[in-house]
Subunit: 206 residues, 2 copies
Amino acid sequence: MPRVRDPKRTRRKVLEASYREFYRHGFQGGSINRIVTAAGITKGALFHHFAGKNELGYAVLDEFLTPAVNNWWVEPLHDAGDPVQALRNILKRFLKRIEEEDPEAGFLFNGCPICNLAVEMSPLDEGFRERLGTIYDTWHCAISEALERGQATAVVRSDINPTAEASFLVSIMAGSASVGKVTQQMAFFRNCIKVAQIHVESLVPS
Amino acid sequence: MPRVRDPKRTRRKVLEASYREFYRHGFQGGSINRIVTAAGITKGALFHHFAGKNELGYAVLDEFLTPAVNNWWVEPLHDAGDPVQALRNILKRFLKRIEEEDPEAGFLFNGCPICNLAVEMSPLDEGFRERLGTIYDTWHCAISEALERGQATAVVRSDINPTAEASFLVSIMAGSASVGKVTQQMAFFRNCIKVAQIHVESLVPS
DNA sequence: AACCTTACATACCACGCGGAATGTTGCAAG
DNA sequence: CTTGCAACATTCCGCGTGGTATGTAAGGTT
């Protein structure tokens, strides 16, 4: 029998259950009642830790999704000497991850959790829009700045536009996840990543 | 004073109001009550023409969004002799259209209506998933088949993969709309389309 | 030992939802 | 002229929702 009083753990359980609930049903379609049931706690506990449904959504963004983007994209790109090699690794690692996932709960079925919230909530709530904007901006900057550094050390072609290329890469990730969850075909997803990989290769000087 | 009894017109008004409502609030967040108010009719009239909320969403897909894709992509590509020129025209026309739109109600603020529904409803309802899958499939096929015809007449490079290129183009359109509605910057959207245009140019034999 | 704050649990609430049941009226066929 | 059905309008309903008010107990502080 675990400790009765454990606020950190309780908060964590709520956040994890919320993430899953919103991931599957969307934010508006997500149910507080289902969250408390899944987390094995009560509504009183939830509203003790979070002021309301919106704040719960914000917390999922701040404490789950922002770190995920940092893990997958920002840090690898920041640490890398050669940005093209870093992008190669990221795309490869990403594709592998998806293929290993549980098809019922993973990326191919449910899409990108960030993109899902962005599509649903950006026009409806400024708090969501702002946070999601920051996430995409961080992501975007990580790519474009890495490409600029690559241009400075001549490992990236000087005649490409880092900003446009970054926009392109972010869009492809979001778009392929969105369309992929409709077609339910890994092949579609793989095709998109493949073209993205080819495009990345075209960034290295000939 | 208009004709009191006009089922065709009534049905149309309901569909148009539903399209706008779902476009702004999503399907789950969309309200039947708001729809009947906006359409200037009553709930009785709505449920006389449509069996339920889901059927209403299906009708929006079948009678609004499917024709829109046909208009913008399928027919131009089918009629064209040179698929690359057709894609050039489509992208240009599309960008122009968005720049002219009302910022409060248009593509940049609300995203792509098809992609929005796809992201929200695909994992939740098979009826939505099926219809959206058909739309994306038609769209995808229109591009890939046009590219294949272009390869046959040597106006498209023979060493590119039409299927992969089609997947890529569809994804870019969906992704740029999704991310664009977060950043709210036309520049982001324009960057994506620009890279897509460059990519399209790379399809023509050198 | 008394106390007080934090961390929950329980019970309850108003509201808007999608939808059904029923009532009413225009309009065309017989 | 009347009959009948399609095309609505009106009214009502059960339910799940996000959120609150209140109760209670754990555990550190003094």
